[in-house]
Amino acid sequence: MNNEPAGSHPAFSTPLSHASLSRRALMRGAVAATGAVTVPSLLAACSDDSGSGGSGAKKTVTVGSNYSDAVPKKALADAVASFQQKSGDTVNVNTIDHNTFQEQINQYLKGTPDDVFTWFAGYRMQFFAAQGLATDISDIWGDIGSGYSDAFKAASTGADGKQYFVPYYLYPWAVFYRPSVFQAKGYTVPKTFDEYKTLAAKMKSDGLVPIAFADKDGWPAMGTFDYINMRLNGYDFHISLMAGKESWEDAKVKAVFDTWASLLPYLQEGALGRTWQEAAQSLQQKKAGMYVLGMFVGQQFSEEERKDLDFFPFPEIAPENGQDSVEAPIDGYMISKKAKNVAGAKDFLKFLATPEAQGIYLKSDPNNVATNKNADASGYTALQKKAVEIISGAKHISQFMDRDTRPDFASTVMIQAIQEFLKNPKDIDGLCKNIETQKKTIFATE
């Protein structure tokens, strides 16, 4: 191999030949550089610690917020400003990206949490209350309780019967449709499940996709399961099933999947490859007739089009349950166990429970409604007014599957199970058996 390019050799050997002298200097430089890299980060770590611990004067309340989108962030800032003006206390809001906040909630609450943090009602709240990571706020419920219906109080109560949560706003899940389409085709709002299916069949023969449907992200289809279960087996069974107290091999659960299977011919095809946004657009473009989703479906509509958007409660299946339950996830606030300024935090929560504070927030958010029954509804859109109507008329409020059960069960078992069901609706026995096996191992901790 004497044909190697002549230039390559010197190029490599030059640094080597000088190495004996320069190498030591080089090493020293490298060590120094390593030091230079580590020292500032250590310093930063120190200052970070003292920052959150030291400046905590008694008058300051810190709030960990997951309202990371611009609109809710601004809305919360407005509410905070109003509280500061009223009370003279300072509120520091630390906004963390919505998903990150949820993913790191364990570490957050075990580490150095803020005094107040944004969270969800139901099982998800109860889980942290049971772990001793939340402060009991039953005392302030004495003051604010009169503003809330019993369903809200139940959703704020831990397994030990004490309150740990203040509801702020919520939105209902329902069957959304466009009144102009119903008018043009002469459809009427169905009351029972049979009427619902008849209407769907009619839409199909009219060339519409009867019911828009999407489950690529795994969670949107849960809403349909929740509703069928609550209508068929009742709210109590649903909540008990979600809490891991019932067997998934129960004939009642299989009946839910059977009922759902009877609906599948009317659901939009290819759901596993579609996001809820795309499904909502098919409703918005009047290609689909109906869509079971939360009120956030409105995000896919322009303000003008939202006037031509309406909903009806999920139809009745078993007459004894009627339409007595509504699925309406509640967002609100809790106080962490490690809170430094509990008194201030409680004052802040009391304020957030007032109709006024909720009004300030909802002014900029038309896809939710206030939780306080005295909240000013005059600024509401027709859709919001209707939401208040069905929520206040409901005997029970469920929170949505991933809030009513253990999050690990929802995300690592139920998402896959529901997608499996949608792919293969025939093997319901095998599916339920597998869910039950996995449920037992996950709920075994309790």
Binding site: L16, E103, N106, L109, K110, A271, L272, R406, Q438, T445
Partner: protein, 317 residues
């Protein structure tokens, strides 16, 4: 690194020679205490970092894999339950293993040879080589997040370009939602990226192959194919090893694309996705996820060990 090991081995060689004084003198001359201190420091830092940042957490995962823990409640040891559940009761596990294998085989047997093939073509100096080179390499520059976005635009059932081009508007194919198709749809994109990468590596290797070798082969009567397989390809051995390693790594660490497309569910399960789906999140199944991570580590170690054994054997020769 070669710099230090060169020096370090030299004193050892002298052990063959009789006469200890020579050796001692040689060592003293070569390493002052300061040198030793510097070596200790410079070797120590990477070793400490390696242990603390890599092997420490790995060992911790292995230990945690025998527990049930959500990061909040008390840790409960459950022996090998996690492993038993993974193998018996966890539906996505076997599909994930299978998909990782398909991924590896596809990259190794389809994408990599295609990359080599393109490199050989471009090495022939056809007109517009530069252009083809850039065009084929382009996808490598794109982040997988963007590739995932492109995937949605191309493969979407309702508005995707592919169904439009194929004229499947009446009965659209659900490229990403149909579990019998979506893995292949994703693999096409992965290959699209992998081919460019492999091509550039081989192209560099081919440029370094001595043209006289090929000349000699053709004088000896070898045809093009023979020249390539008997002469060129063997001289590419160092590149082949790099490409092999890259291919295996790509197959095992595959994550981003499927995660962006549908969170790695419904036909796109991969071991890496299962690990993150179980550990990252609100009520994390840390023990269960760790057990999955250990399984993935063992598989990876299998490849790493095989590779290292090969390399050391080579060096000995």
């Amino acid at each position: 690194m070669a710099l230090f090991s060169d020096r370090a081995t030299r004193p050892d060689e002298t052990t063959d020679h009789p006469g200890a004084p020579v050796r001692r003198r040689a060592r003293r001359r070569r390493f002052t205490p300061r040198d030793v201190a510097v070596f200790a420091l410079l070797l120590g830092i990477p070793i400490v970092l390696d242990v603390v940042l890599i092997w420490g957490p790995t060992a911790a995962s292995a230990v945690l894999s025998f527990s049930r823990w959500d990061g909040v409640s008390d840790l409960v040891w459950n022996h090998g339950d996690n492993y038993r559940q993974i193998v018996q009761d966890y539906p996505p596990f076997w599909p994930a293993v299978w998909h990782n294998v398909i991924w590896l085989v596809f990259l190794g047997l389809v994408a990599t040879p295609l990359g080599l093939f393109l490199a050989v073509l471009l090495d022939k100096g056809i007109r517009g080589t530069r252009f083809y080179q850039s065009a084929i390499y382009m996808p490598v520059v794109l982040s997988l997040a963007i590739v995932g976005f492109i995937a949605k635009l191309v493969y979407s059932r309702d508005y995707g370009a592919l169904n439009g081009v194929l004229g499947l508007t009446q009965h659209p194919v659900d490229w990403l939602g149909d579990p019998s198709k979506n893995l292949w749809a994703v693999l096409v994109l992965v290959a699209w990226r992998h081919i460019g990468y492999v091509m550039i590596l081989y192209l560099a290797g081919l440029k370094a192959v001595d043209p006289e070798l090929k000349e000699a082969a053709s004088i000896d009567g070898a045809n093009e194919v023979q020249t390539f397989f008997r002469v060129t390809f063997p001289t590419l051995r160092p590149i082949n090893i790099i490409v092999l390693v890259i291919t295996v790594i790509e197959a095992l660490r595959a994550f981003d694309l499927v995660f962006i497309i549908n969170k790695g569910r419904n036909g796109l399960e991969l071991l890496s996705v299962l690990v993150s789906a179980n550990i990252v999140g609100e009520a994390s199944r840390i023990g269960f996820g760790s057990a999955l991570a250990v399984i993935l580590t063992v598989i990876s170690l299998g490849f790493v060990v095989t590779y290292l054994v090969q390399v050391f054997r080579e060096e000995k020769r």
